[in-house]
Symmetry: D2
Subunit: 430 residues, 4 copies
């Protein structure tokens, strides 16, 4: 082995699977390891610590191994500063830039560890002196370091399209610490017992009760619930009960698309008609007259909020959002009819709006939409709790795979789930 | 029955299922029918004709029935003109506007039947005097009617967001004829024998050969092949062979997304690296360093075409498209990293670009992408041939349900399908 | 065309799709047709009649076409008797034997049309003189013909393994009439409005109410409900409510497997243990200690009924079946542990037991089991109503494809479906 | 904690995930642990050793925890003998019997560790003195212990229905060692690099080549290949190439069902007919005339082997099996038509026949059959290599979940997989 480096892991590194993944990465990529120290936590509340030298035949391979290890929480032991390099142009990262995970991350700058703000996967980390950062002035709760000149320094994630020429972008893997979340230490509630994972094995009704408890507890702690909803919620008959959850105050933020909002409004406008009842995702036609007409009428009113004020929209999820000041983002897609005036048709703008929602959320409920759930999931740190519900197990698996031990999935019918959840929440909340 | 109207069907209305659907619609929606004339084609090449009076308890129900009948090719018998009404505002349709199917359609104007141009489902039909239509001057092949003042009149579809105040929009169902395509009369080739439908029942290799023949025949007739491709084509190992099909001239137009293009280019840049081999849709991380870096490098080059010229991109599907002047549309989505400079991030703009592609296509090959296939499918008339390939039967079914007898589906692995198809095409084409 | 024959169709042949299928068959198989008579029903309650000559290049092809037409209700017009030939050996059918559909069927014998008893697909038809048929003496309601010697003649289906040497087996397609069921003429209840088909498009709760109504109405008519249940009913948490439906008298017959019964009993014995809660279909181990121990204890007791009497089994679906005299069949499979003493391990014996159940059933509720549902479905005539519930759309589609317009499917979570159904049934039934 | 016991783990316990699972089990079930010793392997070829005390509030919970730990390779440290108790009756296990995993297992008897023969999950372990075990006399390679009286003692698994009154059955968890297989130490071949798991991320063609290599290597080592095949292999067009693999000597044992064999033979008899081409799993009818007729003809011939000798069967997979002396088991199911005389209709007998096949196999290729693959998988020790191919990811996942690091899955089309595999095997084998 011509190239070696020393990495460290600490925390509940065995039962979180971090050690296993670390060994697996080294072996898959053809490397070697030699344990220097392994202090194992003797009891379940105690953490473990491992320090090992990783080797590879060449620097190229070693770098690959270290990158993968890093993604999984094995950090370089060297007490050196992170390296930064200026971005050569707008939207262009320097060679060897550091690409983030969705785990809590710190960088070492002038000998001090600075937390990276707004953690999100597949971003660059940009180091800023606060005085030069006019758009994001530090708010009171933020942790800020002073640099050598006494000026505060901060680090935050930036997606590629937000990179500007000259941004100081972190490169290489040195001086960076990643900390994947441990699995919960106790076994109460869906995020305890389930330890994440798909719940095909649990009786559906009892799991719904646990999700209801998690929802109520989140609200009791004064935290925020973000609901990501697809059109199937409306088709399957969950619209009334999702509207009820909004009205009762259990939904703080809504993330959806043009299709969801249109179907919800259309149901209010034409709900008793046969046309509506026959509408289906599987239908030969992508929309129908009522669908287009609904969009046209909302355009005429000037948007969803004016349409509520005009009395055009008098019920449903969007109505309750407007009436209860629940902010919503409707992200556009190339499948959309219309779209509604509220729909953000530009994908980059829509991502930015979703990013804001994701940062505010403490519990995310994803209901029957792969596209919007993935878009939201892309912006979430691994510490945010996620419940994902879909009748298609592949969708649930795909969403959970990008998550953490904080994510649980449920393969069930959203048309029976939402009503049963609303009942359970109202009961639990009383 | 207090409300009645007479409708007509003609063509191969029994074996295309049109009569069955018509009867089903009337009965499902609570109406009645009385056959006035039924002339049945005595042999398979002869068409049938049916004229029947449809009744309902009230005008509202009757209108609903007639709308559904219309969508399926049962046209009002009344020899009256189509009704038009000016759009009250931009993007707002008049009440009772006529919403199109994807079938060939004609409207009656001043006593003459005018074909509707650019047929596409869920659009409005706008009537224009050519002199007022500056953007779409009639080309030589177009059928144009003269209106009362001797000026040519034409009718064409407009999606909701293209409607402008004052546009003369067709309303109601009178004076409109829809003609769903008949099923093919003979049984050769995939579009004959299969008569559309999902082909789980056919030996995969023999069906691939038939698709290859259809591809070669399309090219021999001088017609256009549109390929709609998802990232799974690259992941599953179909990239080289899709590139080969482009190089050999069997692909005229490409419709894809930012993810497809990035994975294709990334594979050329980092293809032998382990990082690439491990990349997966199911991976916890949505992209990875190479993915972001690929986008960054293409941005630095100024786009895909300059990157090909610079030699940065030297192989793959996008490379062959640039080298062989195959136009492509990369439509953005809220899931995207980056995106690449070539990606159209605005959903409405992207739809417009896709619409242009769809109108040019004679044969569409949809490969492992639900989002882009639906977007393309939304713009296709029912007369365009479609082959849809996906490993998920639900995707194939959903895409075919919006299609016609011209669509066939294949549930198979795109990673084995594309190589076998390329081999078969090259053999057949020689 | 060197070979021709005349066939007839009557009934609601257009809206049932029979005409379309008939034309499709002729064309797919390379034949021709010439309509001789086509009398179309003028109103929805009137039937239509079609008589047409079918041609093919050779007798072989014609026979193939006629066979397929026959399966779909197009019967040979020739007023001749059915041909019979003695079976050459046990379990061996004569060459050219007639293979049944699952539709009501008659054969012409000595100039009279005799109904075929116990219609079931893929069987042979055996003609018997009652005097020689000692095992199946005609019960009062049976239709019996007298043959030339004044002895009553009857026709019934026999599966291949029941054929005995010398049995008079119907061959060829002449002298046989098949009558597929028409679609319901009105639109009330799930079997009306839905007209069969998968119900992804309906709000789940409202469809559950309609199924509940169908269940209650079946019982009110004094008819029989057969429930086919898989282990997932227990895993997903539907056991208590299925037991309740049995107790309340809404289940007359149960068809399941060793796995269902074992999980149900195990839940009663160990239900509150953690071991049980963690049990899952997806679990690495196929069963577990409790599973094996449950079977062992029931073996020790001598079977399910003695185990109920002993007090070993004190709750659950099997308990309620024993207590309420609901007969059950537990069919074995090569996946089984144990099995329980009640399990019929021989596949042919189990089929025979299932066949008896299927013949008694008027409404069949299939809950989350492909294997047992297919086995039951194989024995059902197309006139029996079927509701099929599964979270996997492919299962629902596969089961419905063998059915009729009497079958509806629901893609939902059996763990929420059964509780909601039980509530709705009890409410409706009061 | 009122109840404690000490357990040990050794081997590659971190990178195999054994430590993680052990900690997870203790925490999920509400227990505690205290590490007494943890010697970590410093390099990848070195094993680790952990000794820890596990505690719980009561003996009941502790027993549950120890049971689960045991299943995952954490063995009780106490150097005591395994406990045995006589079975109280045929097919009845003593209370507290030990239920096996599919991992290599040893029991301690008279102070010596004896390997358990024929390891299979969910069985009991029976201790036998060889003199009393007349049916299974020790062959030369078997490890046999002498008991106190100088007689050899052996331990082997028995499924529930093989238990006889008086059998000495191992109970409790003491004196038993379980050793789950480590993950492979190097990364070549599909069982190395893939480390098991579903291979959606790999290019299909390159993975097929690796499976081909594994097949060829297995043969070169003189080991046995067992193919488990479903009817879809024939429908999808893989029959000819599977027959070729049998003919070329790459298949040693075949495990299938009545449906597979019938479709294979039918294809030989009627393969070019249109009837055959239209046959499909999704077809309304479960079989068709040719299907029944094929079975009938084989019955007339007296079975598959005589039918080959008679020349009735002249090609296909079953033909090649007969001609090349490849033994096959056709296991019956309640879905079957016929069945063929070769089909074992009794589930228990069929399981026994499958068990024999499973014990002989070194590499198992499961092709598109859930039922038969589960039945075979149930009998396999975790050390047998398994490749599972299905177009349905849920099937692949379900089969792999019961496996080990020796199992890999491929989500692809068996109709393209088998031909490409046969080509690759023949190329590799040359």
């Amino acid at each position: 082995m011509n190239a070696t480096r020393t990495v460290e892991l600490d925390g509940h590194i065995i039962d979180s699977g971090a050690m296993q993944r670390a060994f697996g990465i080294v072996m898959d990529l053809g490397g070697t390891f030699e344990i220097e120290t392994f202090d194992v936590g003797r009891r379940k509340e105690e953490t473990s610590y491992c320090r090992m030298e990783v080797g590879a035949d060449d620097e190229e391979t070693l770098r690959e191994i270290l990158h993968e290890l890093h993604q999984n929480g094995a950090n370089l032991a060297d007490p050196v500063d992170a390296r930064v390099e200026p971005a050569p142009a707008d939207q262009v990262v320097p060679a060897g830039f550091y690409s983030t995970t969705n785990h809590p991350t710190e960088i070492r700058y002038d000998g001090e560890w600075i937390p990276v703000e707004h953690v999100e996967m597949d971003c660059a980390i940009v180091v800023e002196q606060s005085s030069t950062s006019n758009q994001n002035s530090p708010s009171s709760g933020d942790v800020v370091e002073e640099d050598g000149d006494g000026e505060p320094v901060r680090a935050r994630t930036k997606v590629l399209n937000a990179i500007r020429e000259g941004d100081l972008v972190v490169t290489d893997e040195v001086g960076i610490r990643v900390k994947p979340p441990d699995r919960p230490r106790d076994a109460s509630g869906p995020f305890g017992f389930m330890q994440g994972g798909v719940s095909a094995e649990r009786p559906s009704e009892s799991l719904i009760e646990e999700v209801a408890e998690a929802l109520v507890e989140t609200k009791e702690r004064g935290e925020s619930v973000l609901v990501v909803a697809g059109p199937a919620v409306i088709h399957a008959g969950g619209g009334d009960d999702l509207a009820r959850l909004v009205r009762e105050g259990y939904v703080d933020i809504l993330s959806a698309g043009n299709g969801f909002a249109t179907h919800d409004i259309e149901r209010g406008l034409y709900g008793t008609s046969l046309g509506m009842d026959m509408e289906t995702m599987e239908h030969p036609r992508k929309g129908h007259k009522h669908h287009i007409y609904t969009i046209s009428e909302v355009i005429r009113a000037g948007g969803i909020e004016p349409a509520v004020e005009d009395g055009l929209i008098a019920e449903g999820v969007m109505y309750e959002c407007v009436e209860n000041d629940v902010p919503y983002v409707l992200a556009g897609s190339i499948r959309d009819d219309g779209p509604l005036p509220d729909t953000i048709t530009d994908a980059v703008e829509a991502q930015e709006a979703i990013r804001e929602q994701a940062r505010e959320a403490d519990l995310v409920l994803m209901l029957s939409t792969l596209l919007h759930s993935v878009a939201v999931g892309n912006c979430l740190p691994s510490t945010t709790k996620v419940v994902c519900v879909d009748i298609n197990p592949a969708t649930v698996t795909q969403l959970l795979d990008r998550g953490s031990s904080q994510a649980i999935g449920m393969v069930t019918d959203v048309g029976t789930f939402v009503p049963l959840l609303a009942d359970a929440v109202v009961e639990t909340g009383e």
